[in-house]
Amino acid sequence: MRINREAFLFAIVLVVTTIAGTQAGKTPAGQTLNPAPLSAPAEALLKDSAGWDQVPDHRISLNRTPPLYDTDEPASLEIPVLDVRLARAGGKLLVQMSWADPTHDSASLPEVPNTPPETRFRKLPTEADDRFFDAAAVMFPAKPGAMTPSLQMGDTDDPVQIYYWNAARGPMLMEAAGRGTTRRTGATFAVHGAYDKGRWTVALELPDLPASTPLAFAIWNGSQKDRDGRKYFSVWQVLK
C-alpha cells in the first residue's frame, strides 16, 4: 500500500501551526513593572492596603494551564485578571497581588505538632480531606542577572525562587530547577492576605530585587481543585 506522504506531512505541519497559534493568541506580552518608592515601614505596608493607594496598578493577564492529566476534571471558572502593585520600602521589594475570587477557600488548621511523626501516639482528627485552598505565588530567577528561565519552574541552568502563599497554610519559600523539582526550603517570609467582598488582596515581602529582574505570578482557586500546576499563571514581567 502506498502511503500518502504529502498528506501526512501536511497534517503534522498543520498541528504545529495550530499549537503555535493558540500560544500566540493567549499569551500576552510581559509588562514593565514600576515599583514606587514608599517611606512607610515595610511591615506596616503589608497589612495596610490604604498605604498602597498612590501606587500605580499593573493589570496582568493570566493564562490557564492546559489539563495536565487525563483524569483531571476540566477547569470551568472564568480566568481572573491580576492587579499587581510594587513598592520599594525599607530595603525590601513589596508586591501586592489582588484578584477577584467569588469563592473563599481558606481554613484555620490545627498546628502540626513539632515532634517526629513516629512519636505521635494519636493523630489530630482531620476535618476535611477533599478541599483545596486559594493560593498565590511570585517566581523570579534564583541567579542574579538571569534573563527568563523556563516558566515551568525554571530549568537546570536557571533555577528559580518561588514565594508561595497558601490561604490556609501561610507562606513557604520554595526553590525549583524545572518542572517537578519544586521543593520547600523550610524558610518563610512576611506576607499578609485578606479576603473582602469576593476579592483577595495579598501583599508579599520579597528581597530587594534589582531592576531588570523578571517576575512571574500565579494564583490558585481552591474551589476548582487547583493545586500543583493546575493554576492561573502570567508570563515573565520585568521589574523596572
Binding site: 495536565l68 483524569t71 483531571d72 488548621l109 490545627p110 511523626p117 476535618e127 476535611a128 517537578g180
Partner: protein, 296 residues
Amino acid sequence: MYWNNVETRPGMGYPRQWDSIGGGWKDGQLQPSPLPSMDDYGHAWEFDYEQRLYEGKKKPVMASPTPKSGVNWDEDVGGMNGDENYFFYLPRICNHCTYPACLEACPRKAIYKREEDGIVVLDQDRCQGYRYCIKACPYKKIYYNEVTGKSEKCIFCYPRLEKGEVNACAAQCPGRLRFVGLLDDPESPVHKLVLVHRAALPLFPEKGTQPNVFYVPPFNPPKRGNYDKSILEDSRLPLDYLIYLFGPEVRDVITRLEAELKMAQAGGRSELLQLLIGRDAKTRYRIKPELVQIKV
C-alpha cells in the same frame, strides 16, 4: 484514617463505596475517580461522658456529632441469600501493587516501589498533598492528613521486616490468618498458597494494578439442609458476590478448597489445610532480610 482496616462484606466498605468510585488502570491509562469525602470516611466523634457522669444528665451517653458513617459502619449487617443471612470480614491494607496507579499519578515522584522487596512507600518530604494518588488508587488505600498537608499510606512495616520481624498487623492477628513472605521464594507460605496450591486470589484483579495482597476466599458453607451437596451447588454466600470481589477464578479456588476438605475429612492429609491452620509463626511467615538484599 486507617492504613489497615477490616470491613464487613457485603457492605459499603471503608471509605464508603471505595470499590465503585474509580481509579486503577484500563488499556494502559489511569482511570478517573473523585476524592472520597470525610462523610465517606466518617467524622471523628466524642461521647458526652462529662454531662452524664458529672453534670446530672440522666440520658444515656450519646455520640456527638451524631455519627453517620465510620470504619466498618455496617459491622455484621451482612446480606440475605434467600432466607439465610451471610457475612464475612475483608481485611484491607495497601496492596503494594506491581503496577501502582498511585505511583504513576504522583507528579512529585513522592511514591516509589522499593527495588529490594516491592514495598510501595510515600516520601513525606516530597509529598505536597496534591492527592492525585488517592484518586488513582482503585482500593483507596492512601489517606490525606489535612493537618500535615501530606498523604499517608501503609508502609508494610518495612522497618520491622528489615529486622527480620513480621508486620505488626500479621503478628497481632488473633485469627492467625495473615501469611507473609516473598511471592518468588519457594519456601514462603505466600508462594505456596498463591502459586503452588493456587488457593489465594487478588482483590478486584480487573483494576489492573496487580495487587500483592492475596485472599483465600471465605470458606463457603452450604445452606442449611444441604450438607451433602457441593459448595458450588447451593452455597450460603452467593457465588456472584465472590466473583465480583475476586474474579471468576474464585470458582476454581473454592472447588480446590472443597476437594482438600473432603480429602481431610476422609482421613487423608491436606498440606494446604495444614498450612491454612497456620499453627505457628514459622508456618505463617518467612521473613528473611538477607533475601531482599537491602542496600544500606
